[in-house]
């Protein structure tokens, strides 16, 4: 495949402007050019004021998430030619406050991991005397989460209200419950369950599974929300039958 020319329609917004706009750029894309590289090329050669976030270039830092032709993706692993479209529409992810151009403010998003009782550092499972629960392999590794926010952008409930805890944070909470680690694991798990058991927690989700569809890292937030509900439903039924208080 040879080099081709593509039209990039890029979302633009700077602080103080009344409304966002779209700007068009022509970019040459080789067979292996990614959307992120094309945007960096625009920055280098056409408009130095275009701002965007990125770091690793290999789908592990989660900073380059955007919506490309309406679909949430990591731009560093999205091939321009494989999109199969003449025009490439690039927009920041949704449902997270906008800073400028393609950059959103992830502060509130990260804070919810703390609320979920997800520790930044967890006890190692490779530590020989670590206390491991049985069947550890059956759990999906939610540490897979890149904190990219793509799930939050795609979720129809997140698009309705910022009060919803959102798929990523709920997935983190389920991680804390499903695979307790560290000294305070039991308490943290209880606290995480309490945190999600409310109208803006796991009960808010409408089972659209869009979060799972767009997650670039196989975290399956939708599935973990259902797992939280199963846990809480079981508890509610048992309380109803007075088997547990």
């Amino acid at each position: 495949m040879a080099e081709v020319e593509r039209t990039f329609r890029v979302f633009r917004y700077k602080q103080g402007q009344a409304a966002p706009s779209y700007q068009t750029f022509k970019v040459k894309a080789g067979p292996r050019t990614t959307v992120l590289e094309a945007l960096q090329e625009i920055r280098r050669t056409q408009d130095r004021t275009l701002i965007l976030r990125h770091s690793c270039h290999h789908a592990s830092c989660g900073t380059c998430g955007m919506r490309v032709n309406g679909q949430e993706v990591l731009s560093c692993v999205t091939n321009v030619q494989e999109l199969g479209a003449e025009t490439v529409l690039v927009e920041p992810i949704n449902n997270i406050p906008l800073v400028a151009d393609l950059v959103v403010d992830m502060g509130g998003f990260y804070e919810r991991y703390v609320d979920a009782h997800m520790p930044y550092i967890r006890q190692s499972e490779f530590e020989p005397d670590a206390d491991l629960p049985e069947g550890i392999a059956q759990y999906t590794r939610y540490e897979n989460c890149l904190e990219c926010g793509l799930c939050v952008s795609a979720c129809p409930v997140m698009g309705s209200t910022s009060d919803y805890l959102g798929p990523a944070a709920l997935a983190a909470a389920w991680r804390v419950v499903a695979e307790p680690r560290g000294q305070d694991a039991g308490r943290a798990a209880e606290a995480a369950l309490e945190w999600v058991d409310n109208e803006n927690g796991c009960w808010r989700c409408h089972v659209a599974y869009e979060c799972t569809e767009v997650c670039p890292s196989d975290v399956d937030p939708g599935g973990s929300i259902m797992a939280l509900r199963r846990k809480l439903t079981g508890r509610k039924f048992r309380r109803l039958l007075r088997l547990e208080r």
Partner: protein
């Protein structure tokens, strides 16, 4: 991560279990409706010549106490499910807390009115 048990915490806890409880009612009533509505459709339309009961057939049907009871159960479940569903949609509209609470009351009243009217109607039909 301090968990002090205060009046507020207790209230929050109640509020919490309500959200899950409402969702469960919605799910269980929905599952019940699949059965009840299936019955309703078959009884009223599929087994009847012409697909709709004529006047006398309707009266005969509802005068059966078992059927009357089932119809009332159906009405209660379907109204609850519908009102909870509307509530979920209203909640997703991102209203102010006051507006959301007002909407809750309105939906509850509309639901109650529909119930009372429905039961009254069924009883009145029996008197015909």
């Amino acid at each position: 991560m301090q968990n002090t048990i205060t009046g507020q915490a207790a209230r929050e806890r109640q509020e919490r279990s309500r959200a899950g409880g409402l969702w469960l009612i919605q799910a269980v009533s929905g599952l019940l409706l699949v059965a009840l509505l299936g019955l309703h459709m078959v009884a009223h339309h599929f087994v009847v010549e012409g697909g709709l009961r004529d006047f006398q057939q309707v009266l005969d049907y509802v005068s059966n106490p078992v059927i009357f009871f089932l119809e009332v159960v159906f009405l209660v479940v379907v109204t609850a499910h519908a009102m909870l569903g509307l509530r979920a949609i209203v909640r997703d509209l991102n209203l102010s807390p006051a507006a959301a609470r007002a909407a809750d009351w309105i939906l509850a009243l509309v639901g109650a009115a529909a119930l009372i009217y429905g039961v009254w109607l069924a009883a009145a039909i029996q008197q015909l």
